[in-house]
Symmetry: C2
Amino acid sequence: MSSYMGEGIPEYGKDLINRFMRFFRPRNVAVVGASREPGRVGYAVVKNLIDGGYTGKIYPINPRATEILGLKCYPDVRQVPDPEVDAALIAVPAAIVPDVIPSLGEKNVPVAVVVSSGFAEAGNPELQQKLVETARKYGVRIIGPNTYGIYSPWYNLSLSFTIPYTYKGGLAIVCQSGGVGMAAFGYARWKRVGISINVGLGNMADIDHADLLWYFYADENTKAIAFHMESIKDGKKFIETAKFVSKKKPIVVLKAGRTHYGEKAAKSHTAALTASDAVINAAFKKAGVIRVYALDELFDIGRSLAMLPPPKGENVLIVTMAGGLGVLLCDAAADNNLHLMEAPQDLVDEFKKFVPPFGAFGNPMDITGSCTPDMVERAVRLAIMHPKVDAVIIGHWHTIITTPMQFAKAVVDAVNEARAKGIEKPIVVSMSGDIPETLQAVEYIEEHANVPTFFSQPERAVKALGALYYWARYAGILKK
Amino acid sequence: MSSYMGEGIPEYGKDLINRFMRFFRPRNVAVVGASREPGRVGYAVVKNLIDGGYTGKIYPINPRATEILGLKCYPDVRQVPDPEVDAALIAVPAAIVPDVIPSLGEKNVPVAVVVSSGFAEAGNPELQQKLVETARKYGVRIIGPNTYGIYSPWYNLSLSFTIPYTYKGGLAIVCQSGGVGMAAFGYARWKRVGISINVGLGNMADIDHADLLWYFYADENTKAIAFHMESIKDGKKFIETAKFVSKKKPIVVLKAGRTHYGEKAAKSHTAALTASDAVINAAFKKAGVIRVYALDELFDIGRSLAMLPPPKGENVLIVTMAGGLGVLLCDAAADNNLHLMEAPQDLVDEFKKFVPPFGAFGNPMDITGSCTPDMVERAVRLAIMHPKVDAVIIGHWHTIITTPMQFAKAVVDAVNEARAKGIEKPIVVSMSGDIPETLQAVEYIEEHANVPTFFSQPERAVKALGALYYWARYAGILKK
């Protein structure tokens, strides 16, 4: 048994992990329907593999070409020199996609992603059924059809007809819609989100969210999982799998089609069967799934969960430079079931040594807008280092005494000093102030301290920490 | 009676309107405690008045100076040459602030903003009480103390010790906290929010949210009102006033200190008395107040309300380029009590003429990611122009066929063509895709069509429209 297998994984889960370990980390990739013509999907895929920096072997498959983008082309997957092919993408017209499958079976392809459209979404459920049956017969699992593809940044794999994404990180994103997938990429580039895996499920004829969970469970690069979900093919399977996986890694889900309007639209969009929202809600709760209700929340909470270390206790402390923002942070803490501890007396005494008397010495600790960069660093260091404090929320506003970048550097220095001493606690930061200085400072903190930092969104920062605690309680890291 | 007075305004409301009409549009401004030293509050205020482009007379008041920043300085407000002074800012030490008031009374100053701190927030409620009593005696109303000041961009008035804000628009923002006020400015600059008035209430010893509502009611530049509120001094007064004003203009409120944690923090921050949140919620409902629960929502919903025209009916149509985003928009429509109309048959027929058959021809109208810029423009034009459609939600995602800027131009052209024909309907847009192209397109639509456009936030776009409808139903523009 491989080292990435844990106890309690069912046989089919192990099979999926083994398949995906090859597919997402492939030694070689076959592109069936590769094309020499720029503008064609089969051209874009080969180009993206190259541009994305993939270092394994790329085998373009096209019986009417000998070379594509400088790569030797093969008429059929059976002809490629390697005995096995780890990943395949199919971009041929829908009608002949099932005919490709036997060749993949011969080369022991574990998973093939079908980008071709013209299946159930276009009124051809029979063709889709035929594809799934053929794949099953030849031992190939299918992602898609009708998808943009998949990304595995740690392996420089952009197996898709859209553009490469190369920012490596801990968040696995799965989207059941191409538009949402593209939205995810745009948002990810905007917020510099490190991705472990991105999968477009398309019509989800075979591989679904639950199947991917097994790989995310085993994948050491994946720290958190974000799902956009329009339908659940097998409710019991999803809940059982999520239950198991979320004991190890947090799963956050945006369930689309949860209202009467949305459900109607989802049915027309993916012909998806949907369950009542109350049933889904109860099931998610049982499985420890963190539920969100907006696309930007899915991304924000997901990326924060991928950045934050697990908490060791329930004691949360707020350190704020502004009383008014402190109040908003407190409201959000209550909304998100966080426990604002009573500030320890020795910590209060330490703060009183340098914070002016018009500050507040409780929770929140209001160090006021009059504090200098040194005072900010001292405050953050004291909060993080205190043995009774388990997590810290830091509230900033733009003053003339401490520039946003001075604040950012103070936070980064304090956090990294604590880390050097082996002290690693969940920290979230809310910053507000003028642009571009404040946005630059947000970026600085995220890049140099890997601490989720939010611009003008105090409530979102706290929500991210709340999601982490929700998960930690479920996973048994904390007592409920 | 002035033309800006409506029927039903109580005498004290008329008095406030008359005072604020002078104060926010002053012919002259006195800065009591003006300073020659850069870095001092009294210097920054004079500099901001100049830098902000204020064209009225500026009277620095300082008995120990003859000139400040090239302006003649006076020892006392009584000595300024004008018979009346329209606006005053006081920046002298707290203890002597009450002593300044009689001089303002003599010059018939309607409202003075006190930026000095050292009052109730610093444990001196008696001094604050003395200030209020003195002001009352001399017929001066007070904003503050302990505030950053006020802004009136249409009159190029930045009466504050922070930096000027000059982007004119329809949103009046009031913040009961300096940190939140600065957050508002940062966010406003980031999203290019046109402001009519910004007020920092500080300790709110005298002028409160309700008092300002009268001016916002009368001010032709104000289209919508956004309040950050930690406490309500006089619940009955606020509700009665809001009830009256929100029949004319939408009011959106972020009530801070609404949870047990937040309330505790608010008490320590502003010594504010707070009511139970259920009571506040019921009162807000009665007064037509739109309630939000996050700082960025306050800004986003506020600015959208200031941009959107009132709806004429309940029929909302979604036009989307992606099915998956359409589902999210539908969910949000249901959440926000919007009525997704049945798509009129003649409109469906028109769409079928150019949208590929794998689109969806209902509500949402899914024009698919395959559409060209011309098709986008045609779709948007058809939707806006149709007589049965009262409001339109447009969902975009980044494709290779239509660039974000081509999409933006198509929307702007269609909207402006409709406007040229006298057709003005509420429209909101959600865009998702790569940066910087998509962000540039968002900015283009807002600048050239004044249509609220959201990046990666489909739910937020719909929420803005939902807030408009909530208000319109309350205001009697629409039947409930």
